[in-house]
């Protein structure tokens, strides 16, 4: 295996939300196969900055697959070709030498582009604000062990809670549906005793907010699950649908 590789990059450039974007082509050379995808973009940015061109803007922070900030659509797939990882965990050894890589932002009506590859995902925050919590104030709560929780439920809740709010599920979906994201939070709290009191209200409010934000409907295609970097399971969507229907019937 060669230690360094060369690529042609086709990158979406868009100065701001108002302007129309377009693809621009760049060449990068001598990229170490051990570099991460974002390090490759850092190198490109150093080079184009030196040549006086505005660097390519993209969201990133932790660079270890947990903050959910990175969000690139690479060769037609959110977070690129590998399974169950984020862009920041993607390494250049995955991409053959002398190939072209296309890089776009998440595309969805509810996620407008801010600049280049950066989109506005505040819709996700507003969905959580509509009901993704347990209404307890600080202090005056029972002892942590007062309510035993079957390990199996705790584990399932943890599976759902692993969502990093990246939005790849929306980007992957042809309808730009946010069902996987919303169902992960609804499921986590529906599975735990602490979430029971507000269970119905929560499901209704969160689904309602999701619709208001302009996300599309779910047609059970499963593209979201296939692209989710945290392996959030489709069964969460089924659980949320049950929660929602029970709640609408009884309220």
């Amino acid at each position: 295996m060669e230690k360094v590789r060369n690529y042609t990059l086709k990158i979406w450039r868009q100065p701001n939300a108002q302007s129309k974007g377009e693809f621009k082509t760049y060449e990068v050379k001598n990229i170490s196969t051990g570099s991460s995808f974002l390090e490759m973009l850092d190198i490109l940015n150093e080079e184009i900055s030196e040549a006086g061109e505005d660097p390519v803007h993209f969201d990133h922070d932790c660079r270890e697959g947990i903050c959910g900030m990175c969000s690139l659509f690479i060769n037609g797939r959110p977070h690129g070709p590998e399974e169950e990882i984020t862009v920041c965990q993607l390494h250049m050894r995955t991409f053959p030498n002398n190939t072209t890589i296309t890089i776009e932002p998440w595309r969805a009506k509810a996620f407008p582009v801010i600049k280049d590859l950066i989109v506005d995902r505040s819709a996700f925050d507003r969905i959580i604000q509509s009901g993704g919590f347990v209404s307890v104030n600080t202090g005056s709560v029972p002892d942590g062990n007062a309510i035993p929780i079957p390990k199996q439920n705790a584990d399932l809740a943890m599976d759902a809670a692993a969502c990093i709010g990246c939005g790849a599920c929306v980007a992957a979906c042809k309808n730009a549906s946010a069902m996987l994201f919303v169902s992960a939070k609804v499921s986590q709290l529906a599975l735990l005793p602490q979430g029971q009191v507000e269970r119905k209200k929560r499901a209704l409010a969160m689904v309602d907010q999701m619709d208001k934000e302009g996300f599309g409907s779910c047609t059970n295609t499963g593209a979201c699950e296939a692209e989710c970097p945290k392996g959030i399971d489709l069964s969460n969507i089924a659980r949320m649908n049950r929660e929602y229907f029970t709640a609408s019937l009884t309220s």
């Binding site: 051990g34 850092d42 900055s49 922070d61 903050c67 604000q129 929780i149 079957p150 943890m158 809670a161």
Partner: protein
């Protein structure tokens, strides 16, 4: 100015309870008339903002990411300590207190640490009530593990994602207050200065990172919870955006900076692969429970390994140096973080390091796999091995892992009194950005605990006491103090954008990182520290002449954001060196070469250095002034650490 730590009188175990009773309360009807600014939405800031909102205050919350849920607390893997003693293995508030003071190498305040231990239990209860899915046993009760060499199992965890789950808990509480209209959230907003009026913190100036707009926000009190400054070193386990700017600006407005030279270097990170590296990834410390650390005995063998002419598994047993087991027979591979890190650096400096760069040591699971079977090892470390393989393309079941130390946490930070107030009245600091509870070395699973203790259980009490003395009348952002502060920032941005030099911001950041790592890292001596001081000054001068920043202020400009942060790092770096120069003892994670035992181990000097260094800004270009807060130990006996 004299330092008053405001530690309450009375027996250790009663201080906090008594203090809570003595703190003045804000009349419930008046709470909604007070505004509080909280900068940062990590465990400390998120929990504080949510709790203030619940109490009825008006809160403005700020973060630089696109969502409060992405603060770097999210990356913590291992766990959070609490003195619940659910395991009945002899834990208690006093034992957690004792271990934490000892772990900090007797450079923290007894009273603060005891309070931390006391509220640790409330944190777990709070998080469970929020729906944090902690690991559980088959009986349905909370599971614990022992962490970082602790002799009791007191660490609560949520798989390898404890920080994420705790943060999402705080974020959900914060979201609820946002929905209730008690907290106004400002994302993609960077705080660039704190505004002082009549000697009190009355607001901040920020930059909207999307539009570039410089804005003022006024309040009755300001809380900084902006995290640590490990990115001074360029490479660290911190997120790319972690910065010191908020704390540094506060320092330059009069808040003292405590123990800036105290940095923690974590021994088990994935080694640097080359110049293109942008950040370092931590591998959980738990790996040292089963992995054996070694390098070849002979330089020539290391060289062959580096060139790829020899495979690690083909190095004969007698040619391997399991140096931790050799030097520390009783603790072996489980020596504390600082000892493991320093020894790794030593063997690499001798030229016996491995990996392409020679800056790595092996962490070998061969013997553990032979002893317990691959399945057992997979059950314990499967996800870590997988993560390692993703990054390095090496399979740790087949070939030893490679690790190297990396900067991980900063114990230093803004100096605060017992109420978490800085030396500027009305300016509070919480979480990693204050200096308070970890002394010279932080124990594993204690930073999450501290962040949430500060935010949920300390600040909500102490800030009320402060507010009772502040007039309700608001100050308008038209006030000249705000317009002046805005102008200073606009000028600074203008100056940076107009340097139009030849070298990128990253170039300078990397250079700074190299100086700090080589000369103000794990091992220090006077000569190299003095060199570092001069080098940093030169680099800073060059920066302001030759840095190249493209684009304009009026739109999203990540180079400009970074340029402002790096400018601050370059000033803070020098203060870290000053502090390291002053501390002529070895303590905690810091090995001062002039202060060692005959066996070459760290030697603490309690007689001369049992103090907190609180640095005071004395004006641009003038040397900072060192103020000392004496540390008094009444409840623990000071001992030298020994791991032989």
């Amino acid at each position: 100015m004299s330092l008053d730590s405001k530690i309450p009188e009375g027996p250790l175990a009663e201080k906090w309870t008594k203090h809570q009773f003595n703190l003045k309360l804000v009349n419930p009807a008046n709470k909604r008339k007070y505004d509080i600014i909280v900068v940062g939405t990590g465990l400390a800031g998120g929990s504080a903002a949510a709790s203030f909102g619940e109490l009825g205050y008006n809160v403005k919350s700020f973060c630089y990411q696109d969502s409060p849920r992405r603060a770097h607390s999210i990356a913590a893997q291992g766990g959070i300590n609490a003195a619940k003693n659910y395991k009945n293995d002899g834990d208690s508030v006093f034992r957690l207190f004792y271990d934490t003071v000892k772990g900090g190498d007797y450079r923290s305040r007894e009273a603060n640490v005891h309070r931390l231990s006391e509220v640790s239990n409330n944190i777990i209860d709070q998080c469970v009530a929020q729906g944090v899915p902690f690991a559980r046993e088959y009986g349905g009760l909370l599971d614990n593990r022992s962490f970082g060499g602790a002799q009791v199992s007191r660490t609560f965890y949520a798989r390898g994602q404890t920080g994420q789950q705790l943060l999402l808990g705080a974020y959900s509480a914060l979201s609820r207050q946002i929905a209730a209209g008690k907290v106004t959230m400002f994302t993609r907003t960077e705080m660039l200065d704190v505004v002082i009026i009549d000697g009190k913190a009355r607001g901040i100036v920020t930059r909207n990172m999307v539009t570039g707009k410089i804005e003022s926000h006024s309040a009755h009190a300001v809380v900084l919870a902006t995290g640590g400054y490990g990115n001074v070193f360029f490479l660290s386990t911190n997120a790319m955006g972690c910065n010191a700017s908020a704390a540094w600006r506060a320092y330059k407005k009069g808040a003292f900076f405590g123990n800036p030279c105290y940095t923690q270097i974590h021994p088990t990170c994935i080694p640097v692969h080359g110049d293109q590296q942008s950040k370092l990834t931590l591998m959980s410390e738990s790996l040292r429970n089963d992995g054996r650390v070694w390098v070849p005995k002979e330089l020539s063998v290391s060289e062959k390994l580096r060139r790829g002419e020899l495979k690690p598994k083909d190095v004969a047993e007698e040619d391997r140096d399991y140096y931790l087991e050799r030097i520390y027979p009783s603790f072996g591979n489980l020596v504390p973080r600082d000892v493991a890190s320093r020894n790794a650096k030593n063997v690499c400096d001798e030229g016996r390091g491995v990996g392409e760069t020679g800056l790595a040591v092996f962490l070998d699971f061969r013997d553990a796999i032979a002893r317990d079977g691959e399945d057992t090892i997979r059950a314990k470390y499967g996800n870590l091995f997988q993560m390692y393989e993703k990054i390095t393309a090496d399979n740790p079941y087949k070939t030893p892992m490679m690790i190297y130390p990396a900067v991980h946490y900063t114990m230093g930070g803004l100096w605060v009194d017992y109420n978490l107030q800085t030396t500027i009245p009305g300016l509070f600091a919480a979480g990693e950005c204050n200096f308070s509870d970890h002394g010279a070395n932080r124990l594993g699973a204690s930073a999450l605990m501290q962040g949430l203790a500060d935010g949920y259980f300390v600040l909500p009490y102490t800030i009320g006491d402060y507010l009772t003395g502040v007039p309700i009348k608001k100050i308008d952002t038209d006030h000249e103090a705000f317009t002046e502060a805005e102008q200073v920032i606009k000028d600074r941005i203008h100056k940076l954008l107009n340097i139009k030099g030849t070298k990128t911001v990253d170039h300078f950041h990397k250079e700074l990182g190299k100086i700090m790592w080589e000369k103000c890292g794990m091992a220090r001596n006077e000569k190299r520290l003095k060199e570092a001081k001069v080098e940093i000054q030169q680099l800073r001068e060059e920066y302001w002449k030759d840095v190249k920043i493209l684009g304009v202020n009026e739109e999203l400009n990540m180079t400009l954001e970074k340029a402002m942060r790096v400018a601050d790092f370059m000033e803070l770096g020098e203060l870290m060196v000053d502090d390291a120069l002053d501390r002529k003892e070895s303590c905690g994670g810091h090995f001062r070469e002039e202060s060692q035992t005959e066996e070459g181990e760290a030697k603490r000097d309690d007689e001369n250095f049992s103090y907190v260094s609180a640095w005071e800004f004395k004006g641009e270009g003038a040397p900072a002034k060192l103020n000392k807060e004496a540390l008094v130990f009444e409840n623990v006996k000071l001992t030298q650490r020994s791991y032989k």
